[in-house]
């Protein structure tokens, strides 16, 4: 743990995403190399996720006299060059160096290598929550402490619980799980609720498709979550807490389990924390993967061993939560903000973000964007800056069409709203929501009806089935969208009529679901439909009235035809067609019987003359 001055350290980013990109193989590669060469001269470590998905796997190198340098993507093909540099003093492989971890302006050896934090992906970010992620060894308490860890808890324990609550209230921190409820106020309710036994719960049931900030924090900086929870427990008067983590996050659970053991050992958890009489026991409860268990009352039911279904609120968990006791529930990212607020003070936190949404927010930037990954931006940054400055704009320089924000509950915002500032209130005003921070960029080839259908499929299948509008209503909305993209020729006249009828009722139903569903899942489930209807009505019109998909995504609506000018009548397509839909005499232009064509596209693939077209 205490390398000598000459030790060279190689650090492989092995979050789940890094591992998916092959980081374990890279780790094994360096382990083998070190074993063969000189085990004592090298140290091989792991770290969490730096968030820069596009260049995973990322490997950092610490060479005495140099600042830490990041490389990526490191593959088995180029790893040898990195090893050559590290072990043999070979040249620095400039084509996959990402940057140095030096402070901007610091005079360093490697003048030609950019400072990592000044490269486009990082330059506009403000990393408060992710500051340790991808930097420290998440399995080392010492590294967390060296990075300033548990300072917040130490300061909190010098204050009264009410003062801690006040500090968080002053910070203006709002719940990062989606709804943006003021965290300090939530703590206040739980603090004020009468009761000897109170609980704190960390909601790590991250379920939005494409969102992985909570996982990344748990994997990369588990002690930050533990510290935040200990502070929260102290503030509300809880002596027991649960982290409700989905079982699909085995690495996060393992890292957290280890970190809890370390924290107990070091006196940051357990009895008499930091020499005070405050005691706090933290347990992990694995969730079985139901999206609705992210809703706090469903989550509580799940911990209690019941079916994960929301129940009416009030009473709110702060009055009657787990086992009927006052309970405070915060999401992982919210909790991970707390150590900073306590360590550096509410005012330090308020320096970032906006008046009503202070601090930062982590986004999972994905879709058709050049640089995808986890990005942490100060609240209030315009969407355009996140997508174009941090994300580098649309892949292949295609035209931007929309950005989907807030996961399945969110909405799709078009280009003219790109200057919307990313904070809780502005997003809601624009018809989207913060959600947990999913941000999917869509280009001109995206069909917005298809996008709405995707998210509705998700919410419909994740509905718990308890309340009627969500259970039945989402199914009908889904059917209506399926009807829109269904091929006309598969329909009877009556079905066509019903399809039209359903379309006319769709918007009303969507609004009623918003108005009546029992929990956040149901109330927001129609958002993808309503926001695409609002901003991309013309695409719906094309599907419904013209029976065509302008983006060519909805295959059932495509019509294949043969350009008689180009067709030579070779007959290749006739032999390939699985449904005998192509008719024609040899050496004469052929013809596709549209009513028989199943739109498989095989003929087009095989036509040597490019005679088969789509409209």
């Amino acid at each position: 743990m205490n390398p000598t001055k000459d030790t060279i350290t190689i650090i492989v980013g092995t979050g789940t995403c890094g591992m998916a990109a092959g980081a374990n193989k890279i780790h094994d590669y360096f382990a083998d190399k070190i074993g063969e060469a000189a085990p004592d001269a090298f140290q091989l470590k792991r770290t969490g996720c730096l968030g820069y998905c596009t260049v995973e796997p990322i490997v950092d190198v610490e060479i005495p006299g140099w600042p830490r340098v990041s490389f990526g993507p490191v593959t088995l093909d180029n790893a040898e060059r990195l090893w050559d540099m590290v072990a043999e003093g070979g040249e620095l492989p400039t084509e996959f160096v990402l940057g140095t971890h030096s402070d901007p302006g610091e005079v360093i050896e490697l003048r030609d290598v950019p400072v990592l934090w000044e490269t486009p992906f990082f330059r506009h970010q403000k990393r408060l929550v992710l500051k340790n992620s991808g930097i420290i060894d998440p399995e080392s308490l010492q590294e967390y402490l060296t990075a300033g860890g548990y300072r917040g808890l130490a300061r909190a324990l010098e204050m009264s619980p009410a003062e801690v609550v006040e500090e968080v209230k002053t910070s203006g921190l709002r719940g990062r799980g989606g709804a943006g409820f003021p965290t300090g106020l939530k703590w206040q309710f739980a603090h004020d609720a009468p009761g000897d036994q109170k609980y704190i719960i960390c909601n790590a049931d991250e379920g939005d498709p494409g969102a992985f900030m909570d996982r990344s924090i748990l994997e990369g900086d588990p002690h930050a979550v533990i510290e935040g929870l200990a502070i929260a427990a102290y503030a509300i008067g809880a002596d027991k807490g649960y982290v409700y983590c989905r079982a699909e996050y085995p690495l996060a659970i393992r890292r957290l389990t280890d970190a809890i053991a370390q924290a107990e050992e070091a006196g940051y958890l357990g009895n008499g924390i930091c020499g005070t009489d405050f005691s706090f026991e933290l347990l992990i409860k694995k969730g079985a993967g139901a999206f609705v268990c992210g809703e706090e009352t469903a989550l509580i039911a799940s911990i209690e061993g019941k079916r994960g279904m929301p129940r009416p609120r009030p009473p709110y968990p702060a009055q009657s939560g787990l086992w009927g006791k006052p309970t405070n529930i915060n999401n992982v990212e919210t909790v991970a903000n707390v150590p900073f607020i306590l360590a550096d003070g509410a005012e330090a936190f308020r320096r970032y973000g906006t008046e009503n949404s202070p601090g930062t927010k982590v986004f999972a930037l994905a879709g058709k964007v050049k640089r995808s990954g986890l990005v942490e931006a100060p609240m209030g940054m315009p969407l355009r800056d996140i997508i174009f400055d941090i994300g580098g704009g649309v892949q292949d320089d295609k035209a931007f069409k929309a950005v989907q924000i807030g996961g399945p509950s969110g909405g799709c915002l078009p280009e003219h709203l790109l200057d919307t500032r990313v904070d809780y209130d502005s997003l809601v005003e624009a018809g989207a929501m913060m959600g947990s921070g999913g941000m999917v960029v869509m280009d001109e080839d995206t069909c917005m009806v298809d996008v709405a259908k995707f998210f509705l499929d998700f919410t419909a299948s994740e509905s718990c089935g308890k309340c009627l509008p969500c259970r039945e209503g989402c199914a009908r909305l889904k059917e209506t969208l399926n009807g829109i993209v269904r091929a006309h020729r598969d329909e009877s006249p009556e079905e066509s009529l019903l399809r039209f009828q359903a379309v006319t009722m769709m918007e009303d139903l969507a609004k009623v679901i918003q108005d009546t569903a029992a929990c956040g899942l149901g109330q927001t489930a129609p958002n993808p439909i309503l926001s695409t209807l609002e901003y991309f009505q013309d695409e719906y019109n094309a599907h419904v009235f013209e029976r065509r998909c302008p983006s060519g995504v909805c295959t059932a609506l495509l019509e294949y035809y043969i350009d008689p000018e180009l067709c030579t009548g070779c007959g290749l397509c006739v032999r390939r067609c699985p449904d005998d839909a192509i008719i024609g005499e040899k050496r004469h232009a052929h013809y596709i019987a549209t009513e028989k064509c199943i739109n498989c596209g095989t003929c087009r693939q095989f036509c040597p003359f490019g005679a088969i077209k789509v409209r």
Partner: protein, 583 residues
């Protein structure tokens, strides 16, 4: 209690703190339709048809689940509310079969009524996906048709929270949700006790009793058979309520109605209730004198019996060995009456009209057979009886009063009150007091056991000064709480009366729809009135009972009464898989 002032549709109303919006609306005499609401249980807010508008709230709020707060302005009939409600109903209909004409709930269906009230004349979402699931006819008492289920969850809550059985629960997610027994097993192989409380509360035809009415008509049509009928006390109480007359008037007209149906003899289950008191009272004294097993627990309620077999198999020896009055009467018909009238027992069919669905199960139990054959051949519920009247286009109100037939028709007021919780205990105490002292007590001396409190206690001082304590319980959830203490030896009760259904038989699962505790109390009131008006108040004074002992049974607990009127029960597993494995 502090008061909260709200307005409902502009009408000011003050309600107690903690009241819901629905409570406030009720108080303001504003009707809000509900489906999933159960008075007295925690709200779940699942059906959302009771959603209303509250000033200042972004979305509609479910009135059944939302507490009223001071100054709240509630509107229950704005266009926004009505539109939402219509959509809710349309969504239910979109996933509900269209075979209302053939449904047992036709004309008496909450969903149908709600659609009618909302003026729905067309199915909005046609040809969409339907959830499909086979009908479960495995149970002799309850037929389950999950396709008619609207997932309001009331049955689940009643089965779990009221009855403590939890034989069914929500399974699957989202659109594929169903209310099912565990592992989608057949209901008959679960811990379902057949009490039918789920049937009574189901708003649609998803849970109905197995109808045995056509079998009854077949018996009646067969000239080779002598088909007799018996009716439980709670049936006449329900008829009194349905037809708006006193219990006594309903009783007399019911006898005539049953004769019109074609029954050869109309007997009274209350006769067998008196017989039960003779047997069970004597059994209690024996057990007290011979040192147990105590407490003696009543065995009239077949739902309770099956509950005990599943959950308290080690306490079964404490149950009275007496068969229920229904079975006793059947056994008496096929042995005693058959002999007296010289009718071959194999030609006799005994039909029972019961407020109960579990009685169907009980009648089919293998234990319930004597030399005369099956004690009871068919059981119909009060609801089925009323349907039979409908088939006959009978105007119940104008029927002439009739009288029960001889031999097995006379009953005391003590037999009548069997239908209400506490009735068995009260009737038994009247006779036990007599057996111990040789004198009758005042007929109302034991009325402390009346009323709808879940668990009531009573004390009886014996002539030797010893005090005997007893308990009266209704609802199996309450039974579970007491039985846990009995099983662990924490109680000193000498006897316990347990009725499976809330309120006793008057609140049975076979009674007309629309039960609530208030109606149950009213029906119990009818029975207490019948008792009060009877000259005969004590089971042991019933002349037909006395005659039966003189001519046939000899004495309570004689060999013959053991052969006809007593039985034993065996434990059942809580897990159907174990049953299969053990076979």
């Amino acid at each position: 209690m502090s008061k909260i002032n709200v307005t409902v549709n502009g009408r000011p109303v003050a309600v107690d703190a903690g009241s819901t919006i629905l409570d406030a609306a009720n108080k303001a005499q504003v009707r809000i339709p509900t489906l999933c609401h159960i008075e007295g249980l925690e709200p779940t807010g699942s059906c959302r048809v009771c959603s209303v508008e509250v000033e200042g709230r972004k979305t509609l709020v479910p009135s059944c689940a939302e507490p009223a707060t001071d100054g709240m302005k509630i509107r229950t009939n704005t266009p926004r509310v009505l539109l939402a409600r219509k959509q809710m109903i349309q969504l239910m209909l979109a996933n509900h079969p269209d075979d209302c004409l053939y449904c047992m709930r036709a004309g008496d269906c909450d969903l149908q009524q709600m659609a009618e009230d909302a003026g729905i004349r067309e199915r909005a979402w046609r040809r969409g996906e339907h959830r499909s699931h086979p009908v479960d006819r495995s149970s002799p008492s309850v037929v389950r048709d999950p396709e008619k289920c609207i997932l309001c969850g009331k049955c689940v809550r009643v089965c779990d929270e009221v009855q403590g059985v939890a034989a069914i629960d929500h399974a699957g997610r989202g659109f594929d949700s169903f209310v099912l027994p565990a592992f989608d097993d057949e209901l008959a192989s679960t811990t379902c006790v057949n009490c039918g409380q789920c049937v009574a509360i189901c708003p649609t035809g998803a849970l109905v009793e197995r109808s045995d009415l056509s079998r009854v008509w077949r018996y009646l049509a067969d000239d080779a058979l002598v088909t007799v009928v018996q009716t439980a006390p709670a049936v006449r109480a329900a008829l009194a309520h349905v037809y708006g007359m006193s219990g006594g008037d309903a009783e007399a007209r019911m006898v005539t109605a049953l004769r019109e149906m074609g029954f050869a003899q109309v007997f009274d289950t209350q006769y067998a209730a008196d017989l039960t008191i003779m047997e069970e009272g004597t059994e209690l004294l024996h057990r007290i004198q011979e040192g147990g097993p105590l407490p003696l627990i009543t065995s009239c309620s077949p739902g309770w019996i099956k509950f005990a077999e599943h959950f308290y198999p080690d306490s079964l020896e404490k149950l009275s060995t007496c068969k229920s009055p229904q079975q006793m009467l059947g056994a008496m018909v096929k042995n005693y009456w058959a002999e007296q009238m010289d009718v071959p027992a194999e030609n006799i069919r005994v039909v029972a009209v019961m407020p109960c669905t579990a009685k169907k199960f009980e009648a089919e139990r293998p234990e319930m057979e004597t030399e005369g054959g099956r004690d009871v051949d068919a059981v119909i519920t009060t609801r089925e009886l009323i349907r039979a009247f409908g088939e006959m286009s009978m105007d119940f109100e104008v029927l002439e009063p009739g009288e029960f037939d001889r031999f097995l028709g006379a009953s005391s007021g003590a037999g009548a009150i069997f239908g209400a919780t506490g009735g068995v205990a009260e009737a038994a105490l009247r006779t036990v007091f007599y057996l111990l002292t040789g004198e009758n007590p005042g007929p109302e001396d034991f009325e402390a056991v009346r009323g709808l409190e879940g668990v009531k206690e009573i004390e009886l001082t014996l002539p030797d000064g010893a005090v005997v304590r007893g308990a009266v319980i209704h609802g199996l959830g309450n039974a579970r709480r007491v039985m846990d203490r009995v099983a662990s030896g924490e109680t000193d009760y000498a006897f316990i009366e347990i009725m499976a259904c809330p309120g006793g038989c008057v609140g049975g699962g076979g009674q007309p729809y629309g039960a609530d505790l208030q109606r149950t109390a009213e029906l119990a009131g009818e029975l207490y009135e019948i008792d009060e008006k009877r000259v005969l108040r004590f089971s042991h004074e019933n002349p037909e009972i006395q005659k039966a002992y003189e001519d046939y049974l000899e004495s309570p607990l004689s060999d013959r009464s053991h052969a006809l009127l007593h039985t034993q029960y065996r434990g059942r597993s809580q897990f159907s898989a174990e049953d299969e494995a053990s076979e």
